[in-house]
């Protein structure tokens, strides 16, 4: 039985992702650390070195150090170390067109911090090897809520006791990771400026690309911006029992969908040497995964970066 520690950046993921994966790999242990501050809420620059010391990359630095810290010497020895680490982050709309900036930035941040972290020669080599073989980073695109639209059960739990209006996204004919919803009433509602917006108000710009906003709209009884959907309640419920195989299954589609999610499952399957429950190996072919996160590159810093 392997012990897989999850590093997440959202409250929903912190509470539910471990249990969600446990259902796919029931013979293994999944544990979430308390969540970290995310680093994709702003557009990431293409060049890490130039922007490294800018304040908006501070969270990226912390995340990279946390990843290294899982295997670096000098940590607590009275607690079990993970066998594997799975770090997760949302692409978010800011980076939707350039997810490569995220993986590049994280890889470069890990590389840089490995270089500045003082470790004895053999321990440094060991840490690098552990990162290469036991630590992965995966993306949810554009965010975890996108996958709820590809699983009727998750959608029902997210919109419980039921959506206020018809959902106009047909996941059977689209890729939820390229989330675009055509819903005239949803899109026609005027946006509310940020300074006047309450937290979780779905009336944002570019909302047709934002799964969480659409969930907010679908559960907003009075269309006043106050949605019933709460990430830490409905989102947790939806994610905890998400049908990942159903989300990534190609079905009748000509091309593979949910490639980032598929990458994560393929990586986990390889890591734990067992396919996820409900998915066959042919659904996890490298060619159907997103090339940024699976299969692993030759000169890798992490398992898959």
């Amino acid at each position: 039985m392997a012990r897989v520690v999850l590093l997440t950046t959202g409250a929903m993921e912190e509470k539910a992702f471990a249990g969600s994966l446990r259902r796919l790999f029931p013979d293994h242990e999944f544990i979430s650390k308390p969540r970290f501050d995310g680093f994709t809420s702003a557009r990431l620059p293409p060049d890490y070195e130039t922007y490294r010391e800018r304040r908006h990359l501070l969270n990226l630095e912390k995340f990279a150090k946390e990843i290294i810290g899982c295997f670096a010497p000098g940590g607590r020895t009275d607690r079990p170390r993970p066998d594997f680490v799975l770090a997760l982050e949302d692409v978010e709309l800011h980076n939707d067109g350039e997810p490569g900036n995220i993986t590049r930035a994280l890889r470069d941040a890990v590389t840089h911090n490995l270089g500045t972290w003082k470790m004895e020669g053999s321990k440094a080599d060991r840490t690098r090897e552990d990162l290469r073989t036991r630590c992965s980073f995966h993306l949810m695109a554009p965010m975890t809520e996108a996958y709820f639209f590809a699983d009727p059960g998750a959608f029902a739990r997210a919109t419980a006791p039921g959506p206020e209006r018809r959902c106009r996204l047909d996941a059977a004919t689209c890729d939820v990771e390229a989330f675009r919803v055509e819903d005239p009433e949803f899109q026609a509602t005027a946006s509310v400026p940020k300074q006047h917006r309450e937290r979780h108000d779905w009336r944002i710009d570019e909302r047709h690309r934002h799964p969480k906003s659409y969930l907010g709209y679908l559960t907003d009884t009075k269309l006043d911006g106050r949605a019933r959907y709460q990430e830490t309640v409905h989102g947790v419920s939806a994610l905890a029992e998400l049908d990942w195989p159903g989300v990534v299954r190609r079905g009748a589609r000509a091309t593979a969908v949910a490639r980032f999610a598929r990458s994560m499952l393929a990586d986990l399957s390889d890591m734990l040497e067992t396919p996820p429950v409900g998915l066959e190996d042919d659904e996890l072919q490298p060619a159907d995964c997103h090339p940024l996160t699976w299969p692993p590159p030759r000169d890798r810093v992490l398992r898959n970066l």
Binding site: V5, I31, K33, P34, G69, G74, G75, R76, R79, W117
Partner: protein, 417 residues
């Protein structure tokens, strides 16, 4: 000066082996782990020596019901101990019929040599020769030594005369040992010296400051030179410090630090009506007006009390503060801790802060060895953070971040799904 505390089956603490470093240190741990109890241990010892163990249990635990660790075996009794340099005192506290039994077993050591001991229930003690029996009163050994030393000093001042000093240090003991003074008397002095050290232990709990009462009713006029645990005497205390050349440096410390933490403060004025003393603030923004302290923020008043708690401590003493961070902005926390460090260095103090604050912990980034951790499954508490992690590992992270991510000072390992 080496200072260490020991305890077993003491409240929620299984076993304590706590060497308190000089300067400012922090104690961190989850709720109900025993931080406050650990901070109360020095005061417990002080009251035990100054008054009695029974009084210490009553004042700090409200009685015996929750004094003994609930997980301790039925046959084990609580105990406490104190080491100051090479002098050590340990007492096993027997609880009988819900009360503290008199004449508990105890021993006083010097350089690991037992100089005096008492068996449980005995009013006689033995000296280190184990031959001579000494009649002992009901008080604990350090208190008896203190009383005896005082009596000898009054009756035969020439015995201890050295440069006409009436207080002793360890080097004085070593000097006397080489002289013709009988070993017994030197050992009595050693016990007395340990007792004299303990009277300089003070503990403050932020949540015990009676701030609303203070703001509403002011302070009663007094000649106090140390802050009460409730903080209610802070106004006459500050005025007394300010008006005495021997103590005005304490007032200066408080006002200068307060100005740094709260830049609008220009000066403090005091007013008295009858027996009631209160304070007014001169605000830089409105220099012609005096603002009553009751109009100030809770944060400023809390900071004032914390500064007075530290400034009250005698040279070479120890002060503990539980929950320093309450009501304080991170800037104020940083300013206070930096000021505490300077003051502790100048006055040879030990200042211990019990905290749950990431900001407080981050102030120890350059000296993580000053952080001590209490966790529920520890056999012995507290544990230095640098015993748990390599310093190089800790240098990579914010200590506050590690704490908030449950890497230390939490209830246990991460939850398993």
């Amino acid at each position: 000066m080496h200072l260490a505390f020991r305890a077993q089956a003491f409240g929620p603490l299984n076993r304590v082996d706590w060497t308190v470093p000089p300067g400012v240190s922090a104690i961190v741990g989850p709720n109900r782990a025993g931080k406050s109890t650990l901070l109360a241990l020095p005061e417990f010892i002080r009251i035990s020596i100054d008054s009695s163990v029974n009084d210490a249990v009553k004042q700090l635990f409200g009685g015996t019901a929750y004094f003994r660790n609930l997980n301790a075996p039925a046959t084990s009794s609580p105990g406490v101990g104190l080491s100051v340099e090479t002098v050590a005192w340990d007492i096993d506290i027997t609880i009988a019929a819900g009360a503290i039994a008199p004449l508990c077993a105890e021993q006083l050591k010097r350089d690991d040599r037992v100089v005096f001991s008492r068996a449980f229930g005995s009013s006689e003690g033995k000296d280190d020769s184990d031959v001579k029996r000494i009649s002992l009163g009901p008080r604990v050994l350090p208190a008896i030594c203190s009383e005896t030393a005082q009596q000898i000093l009054e009756q035969k001042p020439e015995v201890f005369a050295r440069d006409n000093k009436k207080t002793f240090t360890l080097s004085d003991l070593e000097f006397l040992e080489k002289s013709q003074i009988p070993q017994l008397l030197v050992d009595i002095l050693a016990g007395s010296w340990l007792a004299s050290t303990s009277i300089h232990f003070a503990s403050y709990r932020t949540y015990n400051y009676r701030i609303q009462h203070l703001l509403r009713y002011g302070s009663t006029h007094s000649s106090d030179t140390a802050l009460e645990r409730s903080g209610e005497n802070v106004f006459p205390l500050l005025r007394n410090w300010r008006d005495d050349s021997e103590t005005e440096h304490r007032f200066d410390f408080v006002i200068s630090t307060l100005r740094e933490a709260f830049p609008h403060v220009k000066r403090l004025d005091f007013e008295q009506a009858g027996d009631t003393v209160t304070m007014m603030i001169r605000d830089r923004r409105w220099p012609d007006r005096k603002i009553p302290i009751s109009r100030e923020s809770t944060g400023l008043i809390t900071a004032l009390l914390q500064l007075c708690a530290v400034a009250s401590c005698k040279r070479g003493g120890m002060v503990t503060i539980d929950e320093l961070e309450t009501s304080l902005h991170p800037h104020a926390i940083r300013v206070l801790i930096a000021a505490f460090r300077r003051w502790a260095t100048e006055h040879d103090l030990r200042i211990v802060l019990a905290t749950q604050s990431e900001t407080v912990l981050d102030q120890f980034h350059d000296d993580p060895g000053q952080i001590y951790v209490i966790e529920p499954k520890q056999e012995t508490s507290p544990r230095s953070l640098t015993d748990m992690f390599d310093a190089e590992y800790l240098a990579q992270f914010s200590l506050g971040d590690l704490f908030s991510h449950l890497e230390f000072g939490s209830n246990g390992d991460l939850d398993v799904e």
